[in-house]
């Protein structure tokens, strides 16, 4: 439910006056929602909202595009950020009167933080950015929004759009650091892991990143390290699979690593730190079902059907009983081949 903000909280000199009470709006004929009462038609409770939308209908009818229309659409948006006609008309008005778009963006900064989960806020921003073409400050702004809502779907999607649309090397240059910081902040943030994959593997090859095997090694080290910090993290295991799938690498490449997590015990004595195979941290809940699953996949791909079946059985009966039917499906399929 959007916060209720009375019209008086805007930057207008007219305090608490409704548009119907303002002399500078005298010339506009407000149009009420309905001519005839209709049982399904609403009776407006909030005088401010009725007033603003009546006047909105009035200026839409006359086609007015002016400064005061910006004030009016702002009133409506603050009362109801999902009123997409108001957004649409506001955008057209901005263009028609050649309004300064950086001023608009600053206003949008404020609204975005308040109405983070509204599509229109982000779409309006996209339209503005396509005109202002100044994406760099946006990254800072997006980071600020993500501080308050670290997994906001629209916000991350907007960041991806911004990077891909402008496709500027400078814009991309800080991105790996940024997503790393987000993962440090919350290692289980699936949006951050998804974004990392997007940045590393799905946005072309930038200068300094042409050695793809180096990139793959770097990413494998990175994800393994993060799995060692938090073993039961679905995002990280998906990421590991993603690296191997996307680069056509065999799962068996990480067999030694996966085995460390598929075991119930974590008491192997390790005198030498093995960077290739960082072990589970103390207190990790083992065995890790995702690791058992991964190991089963490795066995399956390597033709070791019996071992795979054993692991799937252990998942069905003990380690992931919720998905029993899925694991039994894997067993059946495995037996076929």
């Amino acid at each position: 439910m959007p916060a209720l903000v009375p019209a008086s909280s805007q930057s207008s000199d007219d305090g608490d006056l409704l548009y119907s009470e303002r002399p500078d709006w005298n010339d506009v004929t407000p149009l009420p929602q309905y001519e005839d009462p209709n049982p399904i038609a609403p009776i407006f409770y909030s005088p401010e909202y009725k007033d603003a939308t009546d006047y909105f209908r009035g200026i839409v009818k006359t086609g007015e595009k002016s400064e005061r229309v910006l004030e009016l659409t702002e009133s409506i948006i603050r009362l109801n950020p999902a009123h997409y006609s108001a957004w649409q008309y506001r955008y057209e008005t901005l263009l028609a009167i050649n309004a300064p778009l950086d001023v608009e963006l600053t206003l949008m900064d404020e609204l975005a933080v308040e109405f983070l989960k509204t599509y229109q806020v982000w779409h309006h921003r996209r339209l503005l950015l396509m005109l202002t073409r100044k994406p760099a400050p946006e990254l800072t702004f997006i980071a600020k929004c993500l501080q308050t809502d670290v997994k906001n779907y629209h916000t991350w999607s907007y960041r991806q759009w911004l990077l891909a649309y402008f496709n500027d090397d400078e814009l991309w240059s800080g991105e790996l650091d940024y997503v790393e910081a987000m993962i440090v902040d919350d290692i289980r943030n699936n949006s951050a892991w998804h974004h990392r994959f997007f940045v590393v593997f799905q946005s072309g090859i930038r200068e300094g990143e042409t050695d793809r095997s180096r990139i793959v090694r770097r990413e494998l080290t990175y994800v393994k390290q993060n799995i060692s910090f938090a073993a039961n993290n679905p995002s990280a295991w998906n990421y590991l699979r993603g690296i191997l799938d996307f680069n056509d690498l065999p799962y068996s490449r990480v067999e030694d690593f996966v085995k460390l997590y598929a075991d119930a015990s974590n008491d192997a004595v390790r005198d030498v730190v093995d960077l290739e195979n960082p072990p589970p941290s103390k207190g990790a809940e083992l065995p890790c079902p995702a690791a058992i699953e991964f190991l089963a996949d490795i066995h399956e791909k390597e033709g070791r059907a019996l071992q795979a079946t054993e692991l799937w059985r252990s998942l069905a009966d003990e380690h992931d009983t919720m998905r029993k039917k899925y694991w039994e499906f894997r067993i059946r399929e495995g037996l076929k081949s």
């Binding site: 439910m1 959007p2 209720l4 929602q33 309905y34 209709n38 049982p39 399904i40 038609a41 609403p42 009776i43 407006f44 409770y45 909030s46 909202y49 009362l79 109801n80 999902a82 009123h83 997409y84 006609s85 957004w87 649409q88 955008y91 599509y119 779409h123 339209l127 997994k151 779907y153 991350w156 999607s157 991806q160 759009w161 891909a164 289980r188 943030n189 699936n190 949006s191 998804h194 974004h195 994959f197 997007f198 593997f201 799905q202 946005s203 993290n233 679905p234 995002s235 998906n238 990421y239 699979r241 993603g242 799938d245 996307f246 919720m322 998905r323 029993k324 039917k325 899925y326 499906f329």
Partner: protein, 343 residues
Amino acid sequence: MSTSSPSSELAIPLHVAYIKALGDNKDDLAYHLTAHLRLNAIYWGLTALNIMGHKDALPREEMIDFVMSCWDDEAGGFGAHPDHDAHLHPTLSAIQILIMQDALDRVDVHRVVQFILSLHQPSGVFAGDQFGEIDTRFLYCAVNALSLLGQLHVLDEAAKERTVNYIIRCRNFDGGFGSVVGAESHAAQVFVCTAALAILDRLDVIDEETLGWWLCERQLPNGGLNGRPEKLEDVCYSFWVLSAMAILDKIPWIDADKLTRYAYNDHPSSPSVNHAQDLEGGGIADRPGDMVDVFHTHFGIAGLSLLGYPGLQDLDPVYCMPAALIEKMGLRKPWKALERRTA
């Protein structure tokens, strides 16, 4: 919000009363702040009533009149509310409502088709309206609406191909689908992509096992379903996840018992937090303890129908409409829900 009497029953009469009363709260600010969803809300309410076996609970003529009052004659589509600009989502809702009310003849099919086609982007996705927001949700709305109107053929082979290709490009490394190319996998987007492919007879592009796995991974230890890893469960995901799984014929991979008990039973650990359903005023919330709304009421009931809950009508997961209607229209695609249990 609810009583503490143990119960594992869906309180159908209460939910029917809740939906019927929705239009009564016109003095409520909340009612008109959700004007931008009004037509969609009527669709959610009407579908839920249909599935609960009370399809005539709301006055038919009034509803049809209201739908038609949302017609935007300039654009050739329906807005969510009178005076709102036409948009794909309420246009689909309008068509769905009129079909359920056996009044599809009220639609100017030609104009609606033109409206829908005008939103088809070169990339293959659809915009929601002339404002230009793109999302695989709108792709689904377009394909669904065209199909319900019997006009899917207006998408020629090339148009269909680029639509399918856009969906393929939305597939992520984890096997799921996002809202646009590059966006994170999300259960609701997985549903719209899967259902759109079903309508277009192109489920062949889906790796069913991987996607089925990603979907059954949405089930949390408490039995509820979430929309992406490490997020909270929400009753509406009962629909997004289950319907996609029904289309892929993988519903058995979900622990149906645990899901039903999570949403509709008492919680011994927190007796004050009961069902996701409100046993006093009716309606279903996103999770036990929260406020109800018609969106979650609809999707909660739709999910239960797919799980074979006794006493409910069959729901077609591809179109999210009563299955009997879709079958009568000759539009049924392959999908499989759980067997309807007898009480």
